[in-house]
Symmetry: C2
């Protein structure tokens, strides 16, 4: 790898490591350049400023993630199975890149308009488009109820997000120090089962899944 | 109201207003005291520092919310109905206090150990205890499947959270400028239906809700 490219990559890797280690995106730029064995002028040269560096970091991993979503949509398997694979994939991504979730929320909530616009284009919109298309496939297939794509998106995104962003709840409320692989597996199994059952089109005859809920609501 | 008490309340109200208006908790203390027509010495006197003021603000509203949860748990109605009321109540709370969600996430993620400990005691633990008890009631009643209380909590909290924390997704991806009352109502209806159907204990005979999912997974 060329030295300049190597330094660019080192800066991204250093930022990713420090955000993961310290559990916050508010890592001083001086620590990032020290870890990357670079100087601040290089950050300015390659990324403009610290925010540019953070956007580049999120973008680097988002590209591969979005391509996976496109491939998943094209797979020749039932939508319910794609749904399960998507939940598993999202949880795996968050586990593999512990800074991802935090960085995404920070840039969307506190970033400059330019940063938000970039995150919208390379991450927010592609994920929403994927969820909308997945729901449409499921409805067309007769597997899913036609619900509002917004709520479909919020439910998937929110639940998976929470597994990683609510670390304090897990630690304090449930005594879970970390989300380990066994817990991630149980999460994918139970949440997929819960959401898929909820999403499914009720059968025309026989016991309808929501009949009991309706009766109890009265 | 006594002058000192009025000043304390004015400081909390000013912080709440500014966080809501600016969409960030990073409001300078100087702006808060200017809006409250106080001086910084009063913040030190009443709350110690800015973080103390923010903790007091979250705590003020959390108290009433937690008492509502206790009353809900004691109500003599089916668990499914309590569940619906809880989702509706959570969404109403986030809509009524637009700073709540943002403040809670900030204090848990970036607060000092003392602040986190307080938020844990007056908010995180009571909500987890409520969710655990609600799930247990539903399982005992034969209405809910026995799922892990952690996932029950994450699913409710994450989905409701996302409706308000993912404002950028809603704006950019779905062209929704604000979460208005009509949208909140549709959210409560559709999400409650989805989650309740997913949570329900499958009937012993007839078409089981998850049979189709199992078949499709093969």
């Amino acid at each position: 790898m060329w030295p300049a490219l190597r330094r660019r990559t080192r800066l991204l890797d250093a930022a990713a490591e420090l955000i993961s280690e310290q559990g916050t995106v508010h890592v001083p730029l001086s620590e990032i350049v020290a870890r990357a064995k670079c100087n601040q002028a290089l950050v300015k040269y390659h990324y403009g400023n610290k925010e540019g560096l953070l956007v580049a970091l999120l973008s680097r991993d988002a590209g591969a993630g979005v391509r996976r979503l496109h491939r998943l949509l094209e797979l020749d398997v039932p939508t319910a199975e794609k749904f399960r694979m998507h939940i598993a994939g999202t949880v795996r991504t968050y586990a593999e890149y512990p800074y991802w979730n935090r960085l995404m929320h920070f840039l969307i909530a506190e970033g400059t308009p330019e940063a938000r616009e970039k995150v919208r284009k390379f991450l927010v919109e592609p994920v929403i488009e994927f969820h909308t298309a997945l729901l449409a496939q499921g409805v067309k297939e007769g597997a899913f109820k036609p619900i509002d794509p917004i709520f479909f998106h919020l439910c998937i995104q929110g639940t998976c997000d929470q597994l990683f962003s609510a670390r304090s709840s897990l630690r304090y409320g449930f005594g879970k120090e970390a989300v380990d692989e066994a817990m991630r597996k149980r999460f994918v199994d139970q949440i997929t089962d819960l959401l898929l059952t909820g999403l499914m089109q009720p059968k025309r005859s026989g016991a309808r899944p929501s009949a009991r809920a309706r009766k109890e609501k009265k």
